[in-house]
Symmetry: C2
Subunit: 702 residues, 2 copies
């Protein structure tokens, strides 16, 4: 758990002050009920907050019957949390008063900071540095606030809290968008989903999403954590919090924008954060057990599935599609959801003949089809029995019940077998209701049964659920040393890169560095000849490569030609010599990449190379380092790797060697201090019994 | 309009009898109110049907106060439509009575027909042949019935009609799934979407989806036609009806299963129809102006957009993404929908500087960003003015308004500028409401404004809307003759195929057919040598191809070797000789395919070939024949064609020649009688100034 630095918190922890303050100051509370700034007080009165509220407004003595003070410093009691709603330029002053009063946490609604451009960014920088100096933690600025549905503590101007009663529950929401916090709460409430805590992090200048998640991990009222994200910031803190959430068995579900390029671009303009790469973000979520859903409402709709069956999520990656047993009383409804599942690579599993016989022995005839249709035959008792048998069967990973028109007109009857059946927490039961059936949905929700309004949301949730919680390589950081005499800044030459690859355990094609005045060497012909210079990243662009040199005479002629061409293109480049490299054959060429991603940290990439990769991307990306099993999964994910796994009778390549090369290369993340910003082996040749780096670059951080 | 054959319809048309019967027989109506078969009478009484109802039941004299007859033949008045609800084996008898009574249309609820297996299929065949003989048209069997919301004529047992009042409207639904008819009606009703007609076609043994659509085109109460489809049947009738719907300005929106392989497989087992190919189905819908949506609820949610802006759909294909101007009062809400639009390749358009200046001149400051955020500044009047200016602007194809929390708490206020603005029917205005806001949704719906509940549905609808209504090639059928002396069954030899390609205007590599005893020829070396036999489809599999023969001696040696190998593999094959073909170079190899698809009819396919195509499909498919503009669009769709359009400085290929080759090849659909089942040019070589068929096959129908 994070602790407060230099705060005068006394017995209130940071988490309590943030999530469950017992006394609140509303700085800038208005007595004009038409103004947003009058809302928090009204909301708290409406929702029965029993803590102390201190409106702060120099021009009022009382608002809505509550005594009002001109400054927090004049409040007689201790204050856990201040909600600041005054114009941006006055915020630093207010913060100083908070510090003087010993208030540990301030949520800042005021805008005009980083979101407003460079000048606002400067003001925000001042604010943060002042807050650090004063020891006051900040949520925001530009935060729409926080709400505790259990205490009624609503430090927020969001209109959503006009709702008559706050639905209490065990879901907590952290949102990078203030307005979407309200939208999500309203949508969830209409479905009967209750919340524990909801927080808008605004510009996330100090308290980050990660810190809030960390606090929620320890919150006894929180069972599931939802994230509405536009970007990722401070992933180090977030990663630690996500890992703690996983250990605590609290599922984290995320809806993150930036799946499309234009969404990503928007996100940046919205937040000023550095460019995100959607695939890297996916890898990050996978590595930290986060269930990323694709549809807005799935964010809360997935919560019952995620929380009840947290222990049933796959703990390792299977090459097989997840298998769902589907039972229905509506053929068309089942077909809709099965089609949607298919688009997410989830299999509607056909019962094996043993199971058909097993059910026959229990008096129920079912057919061996991917959808078990009970439209005609079954009683409620038989339905319940089938459910229970399926939930114990070993040929499916989940059971999906698709309910027809009874859900609309006879909700009690429709949900009866679902509610009454014995449901182990080790295999999910999910429900899709084909008609409009809000009452059935609510009943199922009350019984903690995961039920979905649309076939698409059902498939979305199951796809997120069945993503494995990936085991990261257990190789600790800082265990891989770079060879001696490596550069400490800029680019490595190919010769230096080859030495690093060797240190990592990755073989390169046989080669030798030569000087133009002595071309004696021990590399067998035919050869490739390359210029060696740390100033030249793209050798072919400057004529720095010649292939298929067959003998000493070829070489003797080629070297001066090559050097002349290179110097013509790039006269300022310092040339270390030329590399002669044995020409190797291959069954497949791939590319291995390493990147310390600004958003998610070290990643490893396996990809096709060249123009094909640009036309039709074919790659797999993971957080680095990876273990062997994930390396095999990456190979499986790259479609072109079928060319070395026996597809259509093609000769097989060294898949084991490739997997080991991925593992080894990903260990660049384990170099102490992570000095490498990017590295690439391109091409990596896959041969029948070995893999071989044929060219590569390494670039250090500035 | 279709007419009834041999019917005794009198003044009632087929469409009236099907859609708006004035007198109805309920054959098998039960007096036991617990039974499904009691429902239609009750439903019609409840929903105020004013026509005549004749329950038919030999063991009752009266049901629910309505006189009951033992047989339709004893009903004194004329009957437009019979609804048959008796066990399957008695249906043919009932049909004979209908014919005797002169009833033109019978909807058959009874099951136990094709959906129940081979025996049921035989019973259905008997039923259909009896119906044809008697001149009675059948909807079903296994149909859940039909409903006319305006007349209250509900010939259906679907529980959905328990609803207190049928919401009347201008949307009509044709469903291949009975249960989903009810599910869709209930979902639509909860959103205030009213229906005109809804029909379940059941096993579609006689009256097809196409015939129902045709009838709905002439129905004055129907403005939009919705299709819930599991498969396609009788596309000839459907195509004609869809074309009529288009001419009549009645949009057709389809949700079709079978997008995933497992969904497709299920559909088949469900209906017994021949395998569908999802891409071919897409091509079919595109060619017939059908808006295919991907999400179940988009089916009705898209209706207001489709109907109001029918004339604004693009009439030709643009290579540019559709551009949507986005205005919002909620940044996060707009970001959600913009991200979803991006996934569907719809651009959130940034206003040009001229427009920003234009608005400044009208007193509103907006920024040049892809989302116009009015959170702070604007009044309702300014919002309305901006809307109106955007709806007249030439830099966007649609306007999207994203409404925030006001939609939830101040619906009248939130929809005011949307309702009050002047909205031309030439450019769509669509609305996404970020919070739960059912009242705002209903208000917008009442004002015929297309509003969406979720960002995903909004993107889904716009993507379907912006699919162009493709102009088919106007080349009439039957205008392309095959050369003389072509085979009339089986496979063409390569030599025969080359002649057909030449007739179509597609050049093949220079070649000559030789006999082993005379290898004199006029084709320049180097050569490819191939066996010629209509019994051998895959020449390389039997050693029937040798490449790079450099001179006469090579050829003399290769021919007997080749023949011996082929005869070893395939001794029974009749060999017509050997083909020598000039070895050609290429910038790109592609594959051209033609197929008379069992579901959608003739199609033309442009694709990459070989193993790459299997690993990562890269193709475009259209109904054949195609015109030049669609041929260019196909080229644009195949990602690998970038390799001949100047990508990364690569030499350009003959794109115009390729487009013309696609057009020419697609004209195989214009051969009288469409005798060809499949044809393929593989590979088609794209050179810098010409395209050239290098190998090809043609297969005739059995």
């Amino acid at each position: 758990m994070l602790t407060l630095a230099d705060s005068a918190l006394g017995t209130t922890t940071f988490a309590d002050a943030l999530l469950a303050p017992r006394s609140i100051a509303l700085i800038g509370a208005s007595s004009d009920l038409k103004k947003n700034t009058s809302r928090p007080l009204r909301f708290m009165q409406q929702h029965g907050y029993t803590g102390k509220i201190y409106p702060i407004n120099p021009s009022s003595t009382e608002i809505l019957g509550v005594k009002t003070y001109p400054s927090v410093t004049q409040v007689p009691d201790a204050i856990d949390h201040a909600f600041i709603m005054i114009p941006g330029k006055h915020v630093i002053g207010a913060l100083e008063e908070c510090a003087a009063k010993g208030i540990p946490v301030a949520t800042i609604y005021s805008d005009g900071f980083a979101e407003a451009g460079p000048e606002g960014q400067r003001l925000q920088d001042q604010l943060v540095s002042k807050a650090r100096e004063l020891g006051v933690r900040i949520l925001g600025p530009n935060s729409i606030g926080t709400a505790n549905a259990h205490s009624g503590g609503v430090l927020s101007v969001n209109a959503v809290f006009e709702m008559k009663t706050l639905v209490q529950g065990n879901i907590s929401l952290v949102s990078q968008s203030g307005s979407m916090m309200g939208s999500l709460l309203s949508r969830a409430a209409s479905r009967g989903f209750g919340f524990a805590k909801s927080l808008s992090v605004g510009n996330e200048s100090d308290i980050s999403v990660g810190e809030v998640v960390d606090a929620l991990v320890d919150d006894p009222e929180t069972r599931v954590i939802l994230l509405f994200l536009e970007t990722l910031r401070d992933t180090r803190t977030l990663t630690a919090a996500l890992q703690r959430a996983q250990k605590a068995g609290k599922p984290v579900i995320a809806y993150k924008l930036g799946r499309s390029e234009q969404g990503d671009a928007l996100s940046q303009s919205h937040t000023g954060a550095i460019a995100g790469n959607n695939a890297a973000v996916d890898a990050y979520f996978d590595a930290n057990g986060v269930m990323r859903i694709e549809m807005l409402e799935s964010l809360f709709e997935t919560a019952p599935l995620a929380s009840r069956y947290a222990q049933a999520r796959p703990q390792s990656r299977s090459m097989q599609a997840p298998r769902v047993a589907v039972i229905t009383t509506t053929g068309g409804g089942a077909a809709s959801v099965v089609d949607s599942l298919g688009l997410k690579n989830i299999e509607a599993a056909t019962p094996p003949i043993e199971f058909v016989r097993h059910m026959a022995g229990r008096g129920l005839t079912i057919r061996q089809t991917p959808v078990i249709d009970l439209t005609l035959a079954a009683t409620s008792a038989q339905y319940k029995d089938l459910l229970e048998q399926l939930l114990q069967a070993d040929w499916c990973d989940a059971v999906l019940s698709v309910v027809g028109s009874s859900a609309q007109f006879h909700p009690q009857l429709a949900v009866k077998p679902l509610v009454e059946s014995v449901k182990p927490d080790t295999k999910p039961l999910v429900v899709f209701l084909a008609p409009e059936a809000s009452e059935s949905l609510a009943l199922l929700q009350q019984h903690d049964i995961a039920a979905f309004r649309t076939p698409e949301a059902c498939a979305d949730a199951l796809a997120a659920f069945f993503k494995p919680v990936i085991t990261q390589s257990d190789l600790p950081a800082g265990t891989v040393a770079l060879p001696a005499n490596c550069p400490t800044s800029g680019n490595f030459t190919e010769v230096e890169s080859i030495r690093v690859f060797a240190e990592l355990g990755i073989q390169s094609a046989q080669s030798q560095l030569l000087q133009p005045d002595n071309l004696q060497h021990g590399v067998p012909y035919p050869l490739v000849l390359k210029v060696v210079s740390r100033d030249i990243l793209h050798k072919t662009d400057v004529g720095g490569v010649k292939v298929n040199l067959k003998n000493d005479a070829d070489l003797a002629q080629a070297v001066p030609e090559l050097l002349q061409t290179v110097q013509g293109h790039k006269p300022e480049a310092k040339i270390d010599g030329v590399l002669v490299q044995k020409m190797e054959g291959h069954l497949l060429e791939l590319m291995l990449g390493y990147r310390d991603d600004p958003l998610v940290g070290p990643t490893v990439l396996l990809s096709t190379g060249g123009i094909t990769a640009e036309l039709m991307p074919d790659f797999a990306i993971r957080l680095a380092p990876v273990g062997l099993s994930e390396a095999y999964a990456m190979i499986n994910e790259v479609k072109h790797s079928k060319l070395i796994t026996g597809f259509r009778g093609l000769p097989k390549g060294d898949v084991d060697g490739l997997a080991q090369a991925i593992v080894n290369f990903s260990r660049l993340a384990c170099v102490p201090g992570q000095p490498i910003t990017e590295a690439e082996i391109n091409p990596l040749f896959i041969q029948s019994n070995q893999v071989m780096a044929v060219d590569g670059v390494i670039r250090l951080k500035d």
